[in-house]
């Protein structure tokens, strides 16, 4: 990212523009920008056909040293699992390994302590850095925006494109900002902030945009929470999201395995501090979300915008002005087995899932453990904790969190995507109702006929104990 391009810009610019401009190789004839990819993370379910394509056209991986692979989507999360534990996943897991070996790409496979969900290990290992541009074949790559990085989620053809060229040809996203103003109430987490923003602005609000999250409430968030926030930029319809780096970010990055060290780190940090939006920078779309009005959020439908406070009710579709939204809401309520006007608090649940790149970092598990400590999961509920990475699992075990969860009746599993995408053996049965810390509540997402309510880790923990959705602010959680 040559620095001269930064100083050349006299116009007030956004943090996003500064980082994007620093990665611009050139603007193509069709108006798209060719941008350089500093880091490329591969996972097993979207890379095999990309390597096939590469081989067919006899191309090589241009920068294997900037590429890292892991195994997360289809791995078994059975405690003590290995690459063979999920027979259905064997083919893709083997291909991830053989392709990485053949192209000299570093792989953190299921047997490596650095294994984990792509978007969890990127920041954790210092692969994702503030101001860098990172690509990965999974839509929630926006997660790394929590560090002030540009995380671009791509499909398999683009994975092949990055492997072959170390660039992406993209339409430059437009600038959007969401400012969170006011004081955040008790029990309200980054997950609730972003769910509320999606509910308020809708799932298409960010189309074609890079969203910067700003405001005092955001500045106060630790990096792990910022990662949660940026993760769900995709559910806001955006291409990516970011929080401009600050001292909190810099301290988070310091000392991570692949982060710069010593003098390099100080030089890097000086540059990271400059990656903020100028006061006069223009945002094509600018929204305000009032934090004081946010209570813990729970989705009631089959789109992330179908969301309400736990102290609210399932809406009456008739109340939606827009006819299409009305039909969708009615269909969603039917699919979810709910009734308009029903209180969200008290909806009985069958499964509670804590995991996914949205909410599976150490702070998420700690928040859930605080609720769970010394209590029991309701008899009819299957409750699971799936740490986002093997190192999160180890850190949690060092703190004794695994004991707290297991004593309460939670399953304590090995790291992976698990019930977020349910391509491995972790599936919600048809008709069953799951409250989950994931990012998508689509029909059939967690298994055919599954019903999903999205919420924060503490809310999921409280529901697991109570056996029904409950307002954790009421103290007991039961």
């Amino acid at each position: 990212m040559p620095g001269d391009r930064l100083s050349a810009a006299a116009e007030p610019t956004t943090a996003f523009d500064k980082i994007w401009n620093a990665h611009l190789v050139k603007t193509l004839d069709d108006g798209r920008d060719l941008v350089f990819v500093d880091r490329h993370i591969l996972q097993e379910t979207t890379s095999a056909p990309a390597f096939d394509g590469l081989e067919r056209s006899r191309r090589r991986v241009r920068h294997p040293e900037l590429t890292v692979a892991t195994q997360d989507h289809i791995v078994s999360t059975e405690p003590g699992r290995d690459e063979r534990s999920n027979p259905v996943g064997r083919e893709l897991l083997d291909l991830m390994r053989s392709n990485s070996d053949a192209h000299r790409i570093r792989i953190f496979g299921v047997d490596d302590p650095r294994q984990g969900i792509v978007h969890v290990i990127g920041p954790e290992l210092g692969l994702a850095l503030p101001g860098c541009l990172l690509a990965c074949g999974d839509s929630h790559t926006s997660t790394v925006g929590g560090l002030g990085a540009l995380g671009i989620g791509v499909g398999t053809s683009e994975v092949e494109h990055v492997l072959a060229t170390q660039t992406l040809a993209l339409t430059r996203p437009r600038n959007m900002r969401v400012r969170f103003e006011g004081t955040v109430g008790p029990g309200v987490t980054a997950k609730d902030l972003i769910l509320r923003a999606i509910g308020q602005l809708g799932i298409a609000a960010g189309q074609g945009c890079a969203v910067e999250y700003a405001g005092d409430a955001i500045r106060a968030l630790p990096v792990e929470a910022r990662l949660t926030l940026c993760n769900m930029s995709i559910e806001l319809g955006a291409r990516l999201g970011l929080v401009a780096p600050d001292e909190t970010t810099i301290e988070y990055v310091r000392g991570r395995e692949f982060a710069p060290a010593g003098r390099d780190f100080e030089q890097a940090a000086a540059e990271w501090r400059s990656l903020t939006s100028d006061a006069a920078a223009r945002f094509e779309r600018d929204f305000v979300v009032d934090c004081a009005a946010i209570s813990p959020q729970v989705t009631w439908g089959t789109s992330p915008q179908d969301v309400a406070g736990v102290d609210e009710c399932v809406p009456d579709p008739a109340g939606f002005g827009d006819a299409k939204r009305r039909d969708l809401a009615a269909a969603a309520i039917r699919y979810m087995g709910l009734e308009p006007g029903m209180k969200i608090e008290g909806i009985p649940i069958d499964v509670a899932f804590i995991g996914s790149c949205t909410n599976s970092r150490l702070a998420d598990l700690e928040a859930a453990a605080t609720i769970v400590r010394g209590r029991r999961v309701a008899g009819h509920v299957r409750a699971l904790v799936v740490p986002g990475s093997t190192s999160v699992r180890h850190a949690a075990e060092a703190l004794g969190l695994d004991r707290i969860f297991r004593d309460a009746g939670f399953e304590w599993r090995d790291a992976g995507c698990s019930m977020c995408v349910s391509v491995n053996e972790d599936v919600v049965p048809s008709g069953a109702r799951c409250i989950a810390t994931t990012n998508r509540n689509f029909e059939n997402r967690q298994g055919p006929g599954s019903r999903t309510h999205l919420a924060s880790p503490a809310m999921v923990a409280a529901a697991a104990i109570a056996g029904r959705i409950t307002d954790l602010r009421k103290g007991s959680g039961t």
């Binding site: 040293e65 499909g155 298409a204």
Partner: protein
């Protein structure tokens, strides 16, 4: 290079829904192997019952829509995830063109990369086209003409659609995106060399010399 694509003539099927997401287009059950029959999995959750049998009420299970080549949908088609199999599923089923008032960003990019035409129509055209399919339910043959930017119905009514000119040209020529980019390999290397000189820390620690081939 892939074969050039200037348009398609064929049956149009309608998914009269907004926000059709990629999980609906290709459910995760079809994503567990490297070379699944994605065309069979297209809209799998809606197309098949729990017993795996076709549900006769689903549009793509009915004649003439079993052989649809054009799909009409409402806004924000392809939202959800980056799963490119959503595009492969449509293409392998035989869909060559999706018409909708708007598309989700990643789906839109993925479609062009795989030679699937995704064309934006206005809301009025969406309604008129859906009505035309209804009226000509036995023989809903439409003509999509990419160079002209129009779709013509069985009764001759013609509607414009929007495709960025450069995208249309690339589809018509059958450009391979990676080849196109590699024409700029010199610029890419110059960029990388400059970045490595000014930002050595960005590439420090990424050396893979220790990785065995």
């Amino acid at each position: 290079m892939r074969p050039g694509f200037a348009g398609v003539t064929g049956v149009m099927a309608v998914m009269p829904l907004a926000n059709v997401n990629t999980d609906a287009i290709i459910p995760s059950a079809w994503l567990r192997t490297a070379r699944a029959d994605f065309g069979k999995g297209l809209f799998g959750s809606q197309r098949y019952g729990a017993d795996g049998r076709e549900r006769p009420e689903f549009v793509l299970n009915r004649a003439p829509f079993r052989h649809a080549k054009i799909l009409l949908a409402d806004e924000n088609f392809g939202c959800g995830s980056s799963r490119e199999a959503a595009v492969w599923a449509l293409a392998q089923f035989g869909i060559r063109c999706v018409l909708a008032p708007s598309f989700a960003d990643i789906f839109y990019e993925n479609a062009f990369r795989n030679g699937l035409l995704v064309a934006k129509i206005d809301a009025a055209s969406y309604l008129a086209l859906a009505a035309a399919v209804d009226r000509h339910g036995q023989d809903p043959i439409f003509i999509v003409d990419l160079p002209a930017g129009t779709v013509t119905g069985p009764d001759g009514a013609r509607f414009p659609f929007a495709v960025p000119a450069a995208r249309a040209a690339a589809l018509i020529r059958g450009d391979d995106e990676i080849d196109m980019t590699l024409h700029h390999a010199g610029d890419i290397e110059a960029y990388h060399a400059a970045a490595a000189a000014t930002h050595p820390w960005l590439y420090a620690g990424t050396d893979t010399a220790e990785i065995a081939p």
